[in-house]
Symmetry: C2
Subunit: 179 residues, 2 copies
């Protein structure tokens, strides 16, 4: 289990089923592998939902997947309940300048990652707009690096419950154990 | 410029034009933003090529893009010329156990990221098979975290030449300067 005292959830907004299936699936897999407690996706994409749940069933949890959420309502309620909202964007403050303050706050964290252009309201509602460098790259990469820093590298020592499969690290080839 | 004395290139293998365009484009953008010198892609996908070159033209370089390379020939020649090959895979040795040795070697580095299942020959030819945690997630995330560690966070202090656009980090909203 992570040592951080707060919950970490990812909110994927602007998901377009016709083009974002694979990228959103990667976002969900990264959220799980890097220590988030779950992901919310605005569009009810059953294909993405099933892909992620299948991974949780095989490789373990806990990790929750919820699709078809109203993202603006969720962000507002998250803040009303005392949580803080972090929006990952190339336009934000650079991570090294803000990560310690974010890490040291004990509030539950909702991390927004956008697919298409993110509406301005989210920039205003977010407690933090954070850039992983200020160059164009990938929301998948941004989420991975942000979570790796936030959790002090939990990904490298991760533990999952009820896994059916586990990898044994190997210099050459593939070693998988069935549990 | 990076302080590392070696070249860093990314080799994308197994690219399928009908389904990997966006993920491979993200791989290329991450390679550039996180300090690689260029990317090689096995399949000659002009759409991906044009997307990446457009970013280099707008946001700066140097960063080279080459498509349609023979990946096995390239890996063999890379090694013959004294470079080392790092294959990112969830089955590999966990990054914290190998990163210092990789960082301290002065050899030029070719980093392989696979799309579809990677043939066994690459596991055997690679000097290092490296996992960013041993859970399923994303080659985009793996490349980002690996490069961030390899370059001591160059992404957060990156400098690009001949950029036409630059972001001014901002707590709220978007500030872009035309150079």
């Amino acid at each position: 289990m992570r040592k951080q005292p707060y919950k970490i959830y990812v909110l994927r907004i602007g998901h377009r089923p016709e083009r974002d299936k694979r990228v959103t699936t990667h976002v969900g897999l990264v959220a799980r592998a890097f220590g988030a407690d779950g992901i919310f996706i605005d569009y009810a994409d059953n294909h993405v939902f099933n892909s992620l749940v299948k991974i949780v069933n095989l490789w373990g949890g806990p990790f929750t997947v919820e699709v078809g959420v109203n993202p603006l309502k969720m962000v507002r309620e998250w803040k009303e309940h005392g949580g803080e909202v972090i929006h990952l964007t190339m336009y934000g403050l650079n991570l090294p300048d803000v990560i310690n303050e974010i890490k040291n706050s004990s509030k539950d964290k909702l991390i927004i990652v956008g697919a298409k252009k993110v509406p301005k309201i989210y920039y205003l509602l977010a407690d933090w707009n954070v850039a992983i460098g200020n160059q164009p790259h990938s929301e998948i990469a941004a989420l991975a690096v942000f979570l790796e820093k936030l959790t002090d590298g939990w990904v490298f020592n991760s533990v999952f419950n009820n896994a059916k499969l586990k990898v044994i690290p190997s210099a050459r080839g593939k070693k998988i154990v069935k549990l």
